[in-house]
């Protein structure tokens, strides 16, 4: 039986390797061969279907980074604030209620968020800011912020709860107020867990597909303002994969984007893991 359940455990490793192998096997040959790396990282011309196709993904990277960046700018302070409120200030039923609410918010599927961006945020942005198009960095950023916030709040709250109560009691016995306890004792002790929460939020934003596809406007563009439409790496794969022939350069180029996405999220998760481990050692 031991071997049988070990197989289950090892399957997780096998799947992660398999994901890399299968994505790389379709894309790596192209990425190391035909693809010009200089063009890939510095050109904004993503024209895979033109007569002389170019595969510049700078604009797609900029799209992903701008949307994720705005989302984090909005959601990190609020998530941490909410986590502090739930873990340190709220009590009894209010705390339980808020935790359940946050958990439910985290369950809303990304395609529903995309639909909300499309049908509710879009007209709202057009009216409020008097701009011609409401599907842009701002829209996708807000949607992504609302999506990532419950997850970051939950993880950050866990990190705060992991700080032993003895620390709080010791500080309170010295006459510290609640806020002083939080600021001087709880936050410094939980900082590794909080950083991990933020990193996982970034990873989530970076890899989000349907919501960004539907809310960002999907035009290849280097954004100069939050009201510009952009296109994300993930959204490009989702929108174009269905229309490419298996084995064509375009198809392989999309898998190359997949390699890039896999690598970046892998590194983010790895850093988060290292940060948490370092916190455990302290």
């Amino acid at each position: 039986m031991r071997v049988l359940v070990l197989v289950g455990g090892v399957s997780a490793i096998v799947f992660v390797i398999a994901i890399f192998v299968f994505v790389a096997s379709q894309g790596l040959g192209f990425a190391l061969g035909e693809l010009s790396w200089v063009e890939f990282f510095t050109s904004i011309a993503w024209r895979p279907t033109s007569d002389s196709p170019t595969y510049g993904s700078l604009a797609l990277i900029a799209g992903t980074v701008s949307v994720t960046g705005l989302a984090m700018l909005l959601s990190v302070p609020f998530s941490l604030g909410a986590a502090i409120y739930i873990a340190e200030f709220a009590t009894g039923r209010v705390r339980e209620g808020l935790k359940i609410l946050v958990e439910l918010l985290a369950a809303i599927p990304s395609v529903v968020w995309g639909f909300i961006g499309l049908s509710i945020m879009n007209p709202f942005i057009i009216e409020t800011f008097n701009v011609p198009v409401g599907l842009n960095v701002l829209n996708a950023g807000i949607i992504l912020a609302l999506m990532a916030a419950p997850i970051m709040t939950t993880i950050a709250e866990d990190a705060l709860k992991a700080v032993p109560d003895g620390y709080r009691e010791a500080a309170e016995a010295m006459g510290a107020t609640r806020w002083q306890v939080v600021w001087r004792v709880v936050l410094p002790s939980a900082k590794h867990g909080l950083v991990a929460a933020i990193l996982l939020g970034v990873g989530r934003g970076f890899g989000e597909t349907m919501a960004v596809l539907m809310a960002s406007g999907h035009s290849v563009n280097l954004p100069t303002s939050p009201f510009d439409s952009v296109r994300a790496l993930t959204a490009t794969i989702a929108a174009e994969l269905g229309e490419t022939a298996n084995g064509s350069d375009h198809y392989k180029a999309l898998f190359t984007l997949g390699i890039l996405l896999f690598t970046v999220t892998f590194v983010i998760n790895l850093i988060a893991d290292v940060v948490v481990r370092r916190g455990e050692k302290d």
Binding site: G8, F78, L146, L241
Partner: protein
């Protein structure tokens, strides 16, 4: 002499200030979402009817119901569960009951985190490369469900491991002292005491599976099919993809239709999660240890 001094009043004000500030931040995260949900209910509610759930889309998907998408989602969820629950529970049993603190265990844990962190569209690429093309399942329920199973495996593993670890260690020790083997202990003591916890995890997985769109787009879900799937080798419609299609790909859709689909999808997910939370709360209250 020990009465409050001016500094205490100042501290109290600061204290209250922070409490209000963080409380307001919490509200700002939650209230907009509740307003948006209210708008979904307001605009999608009128679309919901018995017929909406039992009829096929008609008129180029601009009218009719969502029946084939509902059935398709049911297929996808069932096949994904059959694949992922045994594997996930086995992995959780290993991690909770057997795993020594070594490099392999650390790698497994890292792999679980990564499996959960890999973007859904990369899972789609994997599903296409592995299940559709390499194993030659074609674009089918089988390929889509296996992709979903790999993607949601961490949900099962993490929640199962948690409920296994919630069984007190003394239960196991008592059992070992009776001469039971490790496996007998797991089979007769640990699993029966955590089965409902595992169930809440499975419900959460169902909820995740219902909502996922990107992983099934290229592996087995179709925009529109005039018939219902008959085996796992058929393609199928699905609720999540159907929402994407009617809100972005089909021209001249009456406004209430995509709202109706979005509302049905969100209701399914919220009901599943509420059941899972309620079950968890109930079990926690009933626990004997």
């Amino acid at each position: 002499m020990f009465g409050p001094i001016a500094k205490d009043f100042k501290n109290q004000r600061i204290e209250l200030g922070f409490k209000v500030l963080f409380g307001a931040m919490t509200c700002l995260l939650i209230v907009p979402v509740i307003i948006v949900l209210a708008m979904l209910i307001d605009r999608g509610g009128p679309a919901l009817s018995w017929e909406f759930f039992t009829a096929s889309p008609t008129n180029g998907m601009t009218a009719g119901g969502i029946f084939p998408a509902l059935i398709g989602t049911l297929w996808l969820v069932l096949v994904a569960l059959i694949a992922s629950v045994p594997l996930g529970v086995a992995a959780a049993i290993y991690l909770s009951e057997y795993a020594p603190d070594n490099l392999l265990t650390r790698l497994i844990n890292l792999a679980i985190i990564n499996l959960a962190g890999v973007p859904s569209i990369v899972h789609a690429l994997f599903g296409l490369g592995a299940f559709v093309l390499f194993f030659e399942f074609g674009t089918s329920i089988l390929a889509a469900s296996l992709t979903l199973a790999v993607m949601t495996l961490p949900v099962v593993i993490v929640s199962t491991r948690e409920s296994l670890q919630a069984v007190p260690h003394s239960f196991r020790e008592a059992c070992w002292n009776m001469g039971a083997t490790r496996w007998q202990t797991i089979r007769r003591v640990v699993l029966p005491n955590s089965i409902s916890g595992i169930l809440t995890g499975v419900i959460l997985e169902v909820s995740r599976t219902v909502g996922e769109t990107a992983p099934i787009m290229f592996t087995g879900a179709a925009f529109f099919l005039p018939f219902l799937p008959e085996s796992v080798y058929d393609q199928t419609m699905a609720m999540s993809l159907h929402l994407f299609v009617v809100s972005t790909q089909v021209p001249n859709v009456p406004e209430h239709l995509p709202y109706g689909v979005a509302l049905s999808l969100i209701l399914m997910v919220l009901v599943l999660n509420s059941v899972s939370i309620a079950l968890r709360t109930y079990l926690r209250g009933r626990k004997k240890w």
